[in-house]
Each structure stands twice: as C-alpha cells, then as structure tokens.
C-alpha cells in the first residue's frame, strides 16, 4: 500500500531531480518558460496559504507581486540601486502593504473577503496605471537589468538565472512547508474548518488571519522581485485583476491546500499559455475548457488526480 505521504515525497524528489538535472540540456526558450513557472509557482503557493489553508480566496494577490516588481523596476532603472537595496526595499514594501491591507481584510470571509481584496488589489493597479511620473503609466518600465550578485557568475545567462530562481523556489517551498506544519499553520487550517470553534478554544482568530495574510503577501512579494528581474519589464498588467485571477486559477487547477499543487497549476497554465497559443488564437477557449473540466471532475485539482492515479495501481 502506498500512502499519500510517500507518493508526495517521491513526487517531489523526482520533480526536484528533473528540475536540477534537465535544464542545462534545454533550449533557452524552455528554460525561460521553466523559470517563469517557478516564479509563478512561488506566487501560487503564497496564495495557497490564503485559499487552501486559511480558506480565504483572494482576488487581489497580484497587488503585492506588483508592488515589489515596481520597486525593483523603479529603483534599478532610475536610481541605480544595487541588488540588495532593491530586494530589501521591494520585499519590505510588499510586506508593509500586506500588513496595511491585512488590517482591512482580516475580519472578512467568503464573498466579502473576495470583494475587499479585489478592491484593494485594484488600488495598486490604479497607482501603477495613474501615477505616471513614478510608474510610467501604461507604458510600464523597460530595461531592468539582471541583478549583479557580486559573484563571478552572471545572471544574464538564462541557465544561471534559472538556478537562482530554483534556489529561491526551494527555500520558499521549505519555509512555507514549515509554516503550514507549524502550530500556527495548523491554527489557520482550524480557522478554515470552523472559526467559531477556534475562537471558543481561545485562539485570537483575527490575529491569526491577519498574520496569515501578511505572510502570504510577503511571499507574493518575493515572486514579484524575481519577475521584475526575469522579465526586465513591468507594466500595470502585472498588478491587474486578470493577473490576480490567473494565480487564483493556478491554485484551483493545482489543488488548494496542497502547497505544491498550486505550483503544478502554475506549470500547467504557463505551459498551456505559451504552447497552445502558438497553434491557435483560440487558446483562451482551451484554457477555459480545462478550468471547467477541473471544477466538474477534479475539484481537488491536479494534485488529487495525481495521487488518485498513483494510488490506483496498488489496490488498497
């Protein structure tokens, strides 16, 4: 009999080996796609903390992503700030915004949570769009240089940048795993299951939800930093509702509350987006169909399917 745990662990190890060994043999295009997948994987995992574990689906998660991406863009192109300065400012500002927003959303749940996060996310988009002197408005900011880490390896090279992103991805995965399995993380799951019961048990559920929201925002900020460096270009599109919605769907598709599932969801969506669109201009239709099928037949996402598939061979 194969336990779910063993399936997961062996899957993760296999994926990890693939992600480390395979890339040098890939053409540079697939390397950039893989890099993108990891970046959005981080973002999808951070949203999973809210959606999957805390049970608070958010429509404004791209806001923090956008904030840190814009910080990197502005600081590195206009003020020539170094790598550490950019990253620290980007991360702290994204976290600060999350801390501020958290005050406004932590009490809400369900549709109200969706609506408030949507509105707050739009505020960041609005800033990116209208604060033209700072953000360049709809033009976005181009020409962001790859970071100089002060080591002989140049991140201009796609393969080294890929490994850099992979390194961050693994750290984030590790940290989030610890976070989720800590007593604090478990309390978030408790809140998802029954907030009133948690309150009666003596938990300060507001504070827990608030901190959960801030942590999710901070990790989303990390992915924004990587994105700015990867893409070399940021625009209001990075912070808009569609972006938030896309991560939302990555989580749904991958399987909420599975952490690694949403990263898989990110992989599928980015792959489809880049692959199908080369063959048909109706690619949105195909992605739409996949969502519908997922919701109808695999509400637990790809993760659930995968586990069912792996277990299926060995009749329990």
């Amino acid at each position: 009999m194969i336990t779910e745990f063993r399936v997961k662990i062996s899957g993760i190890i296999a994926a990890f080996i693939l992600l480390v060994i395979l890339p040098p043999t890939l053409p540079s295009y697939w390397l950039t796609i893989l890099t993108q997948i990891l970046i959005f994987g981080i973002m999808a995992m951070s949203l999973d903390v809210l959606m999957g574990y805390m049970g608070r689906p958010s429509f404004g998660h791209a806001a923090f992503f956008g904030v840190s991406a814009y910080v990197i863009a502005i600081l590195s192109t206009r003020y020539q700030v170094g790598f550490l300065g950019c990253v620290a400012t980007g991360f702290l500002l994204a976290t600060a915004i999350a801390a501020l927003y958290g005050l406004l959303v932590a009490h809400a749940a369900g549709v109200y949570f969706l609506m408030i996060t949507l509105a707050l996310g739009m505020v960041i988009w609005g800033l990116a769009f209208r604060w033209v002197t700072m953000t360049g408005g709809d033009n976005g900011i181009a020409g962001i240089p790859r970071p100089d880490l002060g080591i002989p390896i140049s991140l201009e090279d796609p393969i080294f940048f890929y490994y850099f992103v992979l390194f961050v991805f693994v750290i984030v995965l590790f940290l989030l795993y610890i976070f989720i399995h800590s007593p604090f993380g478990q309390s978030l799951i408790g809140i998802r299951e029954s907030e009133s019961r948690m309150r009666i048990l003596g938990y300060n559920t507001w504070l827990h939800k608030y901190l959960g929201y801030v942590v999710a925002g901070a990790f989303s900020g990390i992915s924004g930093i990587l994105w700015a460096y990867y893409n070399g270009f940021v625009s209001p599109m990075d912070a808009e509702l569609t972006a938030s919605f896309e991560v939302f769907l990555m989580v749904i598709l991958g399987g909420p509350g599975t952490l690694i599932g949403p990263a898989l969801g990110a992989a599928i969506i980015i792959f489809l987006k880049n692959f199908i669109s080369a063959y048909t201009h109706r690619w949105l239709l195909i992605i739409g169909a996949i969502y519908i099928l997922t919701i109808l037949y695999a509400p637990g996402g790809v993760m659930e399917l995968g586990i069912r598939f792996a277990k299926g061979g060995d009749k329990e």
Binding site: I2, V7, V132, D138
Partner: protein, 413 residues
C-alpha cells in the same frame, strides 16, 4: 511509485519533443522565418487583423519564396499589451529562431521590446509601432522603422488647424500612454506655435469603452476637439461624440487612427466631417495605392487601412533586403545593414526615404471623412510632402526638448 517515475519520464519526453524543432532547425539552410506580432484578440483585434492581412497579402504575392528560400511566417497574438508582446517576442526569437520580427501595435510595446531586441540582436521592423524616441533620443540599434513616428503627422496638422481651419481653442482627448501623449504633444506644439491654444487636455485609459464621463467635461469654449483613439475605442468615441451633441458644435479633429479604415466601415454618419492626419489614406488616388487597395479588398474583404499598408510595405522592405544579401539572413549584421540602407519605391502611401535617424521622411495627408459610393472614406484634402519627424524645427533644438508626455508640452495658463 513506478507511476510517478513513468509520469516524470513522459514529462521529459514531452518537453524534449516540444523543444526539438528549434534546435534541429537552427543549423542548415531552412526557410527564412519572419516573426509577426499583433493584437489578434482584444479591443484592438481589428487593427491586428488588418496588419496580418497586409503581411500575408504581400507574401502571397511573393509566392512565399525569396532568393531561393522558402518564407515561413510565424504569427503571435499580443492582445495589445506590451507585457504579452514581450513574452511572445521572446518565444519567436528563442524557440522559433526567427530571422526578423515585424508588427506590434502600441508605441509602448515599441519601447518595451527595444532592450530585448538589441540584446538578442534580431532585426525588428517597426511598421506600426511609432514610439517617437526610438528614432530620436534613444535610438534602437536593431530597429528598422518603415512606419512613422507618432508625432510626425501631428506636426503639419497643428499648422493646418490653426492656419487653414482658423481654429483658436482646442481641447484634446486621447489614450493615456506613450502614443497618445506623442500624437497630442506634436499637435499641441505646432498648433500653439501657429497661434492656437490648447485649453484642456483629457486622458483616458487605453481601451476605454465609455467616454461619457470625459465628454461631459469638455470645455464649451472650444472651437474643436482633437481626439486620439484606435480600435473599438475609436468607434465608441466618435459615436458618443455625436450622441452628446458635440458634433454640431465643435469640429472633430483627430490622429489618423481615430478614423482609420480598420474601423471606418463599422462607423456610421456620425464620422462624416471628421478631419484627421496620417501618412496614409485608403482613398489615396495614386496608381500604387489603387492597386494595393484592390488587392487588399480582394484578400481581406474590406477597404485597405494604414494597418494593412504598414506590414505590406514592411514585408516588401524585408524581401528586398533579403534579395540584396542573396538570402543570407543568418549574417545578422549584414542583414541589418541591408534593411537600414534600403531604398524602396512604389509604396502605396507614396514616396519615402529614411532620414539619418532611421525614420521615414514621407507625405503626410490631411483627410476628411466622406461618404463616397455608399462607403465612408478618408478623402485627402491636403498633402504635406516630405515631412520629417522633426517637422521644420531645428534637429538639435528639437532633440534637446523633452519627449512628449502627459504633462509636456504643458497647458498654458
């Protein structure tokens, strides 16, 4: 457990297969690959379709072949968003290994692509993207501009509006990004130098679908309104301009895309009388354009537009350059040089040549929308020949001025 590894193996295989064509075709003399980008979905889809039709039309004429090599056109949809365009260009360059890029709609896309294109050293034909600064203060090395610069048609139009239309006070309204700022900025500079005054500037987000809130704010003191939109936004604005009762009170002027033939067939009588400016008109009465317009109508089933003419002429430009280097597009420096030094005659839009900054010096047409034979058209009412991107200004002086932006030139108090 086994299944997990089986799954992994399948993934590896899939990636391998997907990645194969790029690496196996890179060597040897395969077809010449042209990467086309344009908005094929979204609010500007109609312009993108015209662009693609123009490009295909020319390549069909060529029988998809030049200098003994096949031509392969690979198209990608940008959704009229700079970030998407960048992603797609990355794919065209790195996966498909295209030899030259063509297309792109937004001026902002033009700016966003430039650092990447220069880094990858792939010649990029700017046939529509009109980002001013790329042939002015921040020249793009691998860009070949056969289209225009955003403010180029606006300069003569400002003079025309002040001197020949006798307008004094004008309100401008346009899309709030590089293209809008540059088109409006160019108009403002020459219009004010010629004695007119811009009394109000309004900006709307790209792709706005309801102009009511903006139309209500237009100052009643104005003699005319200068509007800059494209795609379905242009349709909607011109319609609402009439609905709000402004058409009878103030002349509607505009950048060329506001009444471009990509959307003109979908407009009604509300568009009649609108005066706009561009380096092309579908109704241009020259043998070259008549031939092109006829072929375009036969192929695309609609009237020819500047969005069709740009890629058509740009395609011709590419083909002539490839002929000049005997099909050896792999030698990128030589290819780029051939593209940059080419001289082309017989373009539908009229005579043109590149100035030393790489921007065309070409005719600018002042056009008025009329209904002829049941169909709306941009009748040319005045031609300014050989207009440079700097108009009549001193080049050094011009380049020292800031790039046209949201707040430059400022409103005069």
């Amino acid at each position: 457990m086994k299944k997990v590894f089986l799954f992994c193996a399948i993934v590896v295989l899939a990636i391998g297969i997907a990645a194969m064509p790029a690496s196996s075709l890179a060597k040897g003399k395969g077809p010449i690959k042209i990467g086309f980008i344009g908005p094929l979905t979204g609010h500007a889809a109609q312009t993108g379709r015209d662009m693609l039709a123009g490009m295909q039309l020319f390549l069909i004429d060529q029988d998809w072949e030049v200098a003994g090599r096949k031509i392969k056109l690979i198209t990608e949809d940008t959704e009229a968003k700079p970030a998407v365009a960048l992603t797609k260009v990355r794919k065209l360059v790195e996966k498909d290994g295209v030899h030259v890029l063509i297309g792109g709609l937004m001026a902002s896309t033009g700016y966003a692509l430039m650092p990447y294109v220069d880094k990858k050293k792939v010649p990029a034909m700017y046939v529509i993207m009109a980002s001013d600064d790329l042939t002015q203060r921040k020249p793009g090395k691998y860009m070949v501009r056969t289209g225009w610069s955003s403010s180029q048609p606006s300069h003569p139009f400002g003079v025309y509006a002040a001197k020949e239309l006798g307008l004094r006070k004008v309100v401008t309204i346009g899309y709030d990004y590089a293209f809008g700022w540059e088109v409006v900025g160019g108009f403002q500079r020459t219009f004010e130098d010629a004695g007119g005054r811009i009394i109000q500037k309004l900006w709307t987000p790209v792709g706005t679908m309801d102009y009511g809130p903006y139309l209500g704010r237009i100052s009643k003191d104005a003699d005319a309104v200068f509007a800059l939109f494209f795609g379905s936004g242009a349709l909607q604005f011109v319609k609402q301009y009439k609905q709000y009762g402004l058409k009878d009170k103030m002349t509607l002027l505009g950048g060329g895309t506001t009444t471009d033939e990509s959307v003109l067939p979908s407009m009604g009588d509300e568009a009649i009388g609108t005066i706009t400016t561009l380096h092309y008109s579908g109704a241009l009465d020259t043998p070259e354009n008549k031939k092109f317009a006829k072929a375009f109508r036969a192929y695309a089933g609609k009237v020819a537009s500047y969005y069709g003419e740009g890629p058509y002429t740009g395609g011709k430009w590419i083909i002539e350059a490839i002929k000049a280097i005997d099909g050896n597009v792999e030698d990128r420096e030589k290819f780029l040089k051939a593209l940059k030094t080419l001289k082309l005659t017989g373009a539908p839009r009229g005579p043109y040549e590149l100035d030393k900054f790489g921007n065309p010096v070409q005719n600018i047409y002042i056009r008025k929308v009329e209904r002829v034979g049941g169909e709306l058209q941009n009748t040319v009412i005045k031609t300014y020949p050989k207009v440079s991107q700097f108009w009549t200004y001193d080049v050094d002086w011009y380049l020292k001025q800031p790039l046209y932006s949201r707040d430059y030139p400022p409103l005069k108090k």
